[in-house]
């Protein structure tokens, strides 16, 4: 006989409010239902009442983990409408911020995964390692979470001392290679919780259209930084790690390899950082013409799409539409948990790195 287990929305085991309903047969999960919308703050509607300076501050607060992605996307979309090209130094700084964000997000995810596996020490270690990245972010931007780096036409703050940041990255990479990655890829207890769990086949991944590390772990080599380069990614040389097994372990490995790739991109960007201005145009005189802008950015969790429409003779947009990666990846969880053990479901659903505050907005 099958029975239902409702979880949430404010359940102790969940990090964010959402509702999960599992249909179980004994210990085996047969189906899962997900209910979201508890974080709905009406941001898309609020955006229609903000001008192009305020909207950047608003969009930054869509998500506290990938805040830079959202400001980058909205700035790119508005720049497309106003036909502004940011100076090369600004583009490089955007790449640096985006990669630092990917680093801290992936390390955070590794910590959460460690906690869900039951490996509390790993959780603490990951957060200790992550503090080094937070140091770099704070040195550059002055804040630890919402950096306020992007603006329409460039970036707000310059990077004055690339050498110091390079040193910090060296330290971080050492920590990652020496502690975090070996534990996750060689520790027997960690591996036995991840291998063969929550499998998403390549075929299913393609038909569901999953994005980001979830897609790359199922053998789909897609990455916007490579496929549709934005900012200064065209000038960077990096690999797109792809795994084929599609289980939780593959997602772990993809993210671990991405951390190392990010370190290498950061090194390149910091050493090639061109001189010059960090923004163009005077914000007090800038006017956004009528038009439609579209921007795609590879966030730590996958592809973020912004579509911005600006009306005639107004200083506010007439529509801002956001599509976040979790929205696309969420339905895949249903296929991953089918047939899994009940105890594995928290780890499986966390393996897509869900962010419900982005998804609900």
């Amino acid at each position: 006989m099958s029975y239902r287990i409702p979880m949430g929305p404010y359940h102790p085991a969940l990090e964010e409010p959402y509702k999960l309903e599992l249909v179980c047969d004994g210990e085996t999960v047969q189906d899962a239902k997900l209910n979201i919308g508890f974080n709905f703050r009406g941001i898309e509607q609020l955006a229609e009442t903000r001008n192009f300076i305020q909207i950047v501050a608003l969009m930054e607060r869509v998500c506290g983990i990938c805040s830079n992605t959202h400001t980058l996307s909205i700035c790119q979309a508005v720049e497309q409408i106003a036909e502004i090209t940011p100076p090369p130094r600004a583009l490089y700084i955007r790449v640096i911020m985006a990669e630092l964000e990917r680093l801290h997000s992936h390390v955070l995810w590794a910590g959460v995964a460690g906690k869900l596996i039951g490996f509390k020490t790993m959780f603490m270690t990951c957060f200790a390692v992550r503090e080094q990245i937070m140091n770099v972010l704070q040195t550059i931007s002055g804040n630890r979470v919402n950096y306020a780096m992007n603006r329409v036409g460039g970036v707000n703050r310059d990077i004055d001392d690339p050498a110091m940041i390079l040193a910090m990255i060296g330290e971080l990479e050492k920590d990652m290679v020496k502690t975090v990655i070996p534990v996750f890829t060689t520790s027997h207890s960690a591996l036995s919780r991840c291998t063969g769990v929550g499998v998403l086949s390549e075929e299913k991944a393609r038909s569901l259209g999953v994005v980001g590390p979830t897609a790359r772990a199922s053998g789909l080599p897609q990455d916007l930084r490579r496929a549709a380069p934005y900012a200064a990614y065209e000038e960077m040389d990096f690999n797109v790690p792809v795994e084929h097994s599609g289980d939780v372990k593959a997602r772990l490995v993809v993210r671990a390899l991405e951390i190392l790739e990010s370190c290498s991109i950061l090194r390149q960007a910091l050493s090639k950082l061109p001189a010059g201005e960090i923004f163009t145009g005077d914000e007090s005189e800038m006017e956004i013409p009528e038009g439609r802008g579209f921007s795609r950015v590879e966030a730590p969790r996958g592809e973020v799409i912004y579509s911005v429409t600006w009306g005639e003779d107004t200083d506010t947009p007439s529509r801002v539409h956001v599509r976040t990666p979790t929205y696309i990846n969420m339905p895949a969880v249903r296929w991953m948990v089918r047939g899994a053990r009940l105890a594995d479901t928290p780890l499986i659903q966390a393996s897509i790195d869900p962010c419900y505050s982005c998804t609900d907005r």
Binding site: P9, Y10, P12, A13, E15, E16, P17, G37, F38, N39, F40, R41, G42, I43, Q45, L46, T49, A57, L58, R61, V62, C63, G64, I65, S67, L108, F123, M124, F127, A128, R130, E131, M134, R144, V145, N146, C355, S357
Partner: protein
């Protein structure tokens, strides 16, 4: 105050357990709170423990601008925490609804619904500021441990509607 009560107050201050509730926040405050519990900031030096059940907790940390969907759950959670309890509002969101002001789906700020003891402003506040807020709340908690009365749970919003 007899000796037993004094001891009770003292121990309250030394081991405040946290329950964290997200009322529609952007995650920024939540990860900073978690960062505060990890080795660098080490909230455990204050005896702080992150607790999964509100019934075991002493301090409720609330982040987020209080969405309509969160209000009832939040009041329930507040009721489930035993006396003495203290409420810490983390971030600018529960204090003023922050950038989300004017949104139609919000029911904030937080003090319309439950009494708030400590505000930690910032978007997000740094983990050390959060810890300072928690330390303050622990002192409030200790003072309350000696009192009989619960802090007023009167939802201010309900009174407003009547008026």
């Amino acid at each position: 105050m007899n000796l037993w009560k004094k001891l009770l107050c003292y121990s309250r201050r030394k081991s405040p357990w946290l329950f964290h509730m997200n009322s529609g926040s952007c995650n920024g405050c939540d990860i900073e709170l978690i960062a505060g519990l990890t080795p660098r900031y080490d909230a455990e030096q204050l005896g702080v423990k992150h607790e999964a059940s509100p019934r075991h907790a002493d301090i409720i940390c609330i982040s987020g601008p209080v969405t309509h969907t969160a209000v009832n759950a939040m009041k329930t959670v507040y009721g489930q925490v035993c006396h003495p309890k203290a409420v810490v509002a983390i971030g600018s969101c529960p204090a003023s609804t922050n950038v989300f002001i004017d949104s139609r789906v919000l029911d904030g700020p937080l003090d319309r619904h439950i009494p708030v003891d400590v505000y930690v402003p910032g978007c997000p506040p740094r983990p050390d500021a959060i810890l300072a807020g928690i330390a303050k709340a622990a002192e409030i908690l200790a003072a309350r441990a000696g009192q009989e009365a619960q802090p007023a749970a009167a939802p201010v919003a309900a009174e407003e509607e009547k008026a």
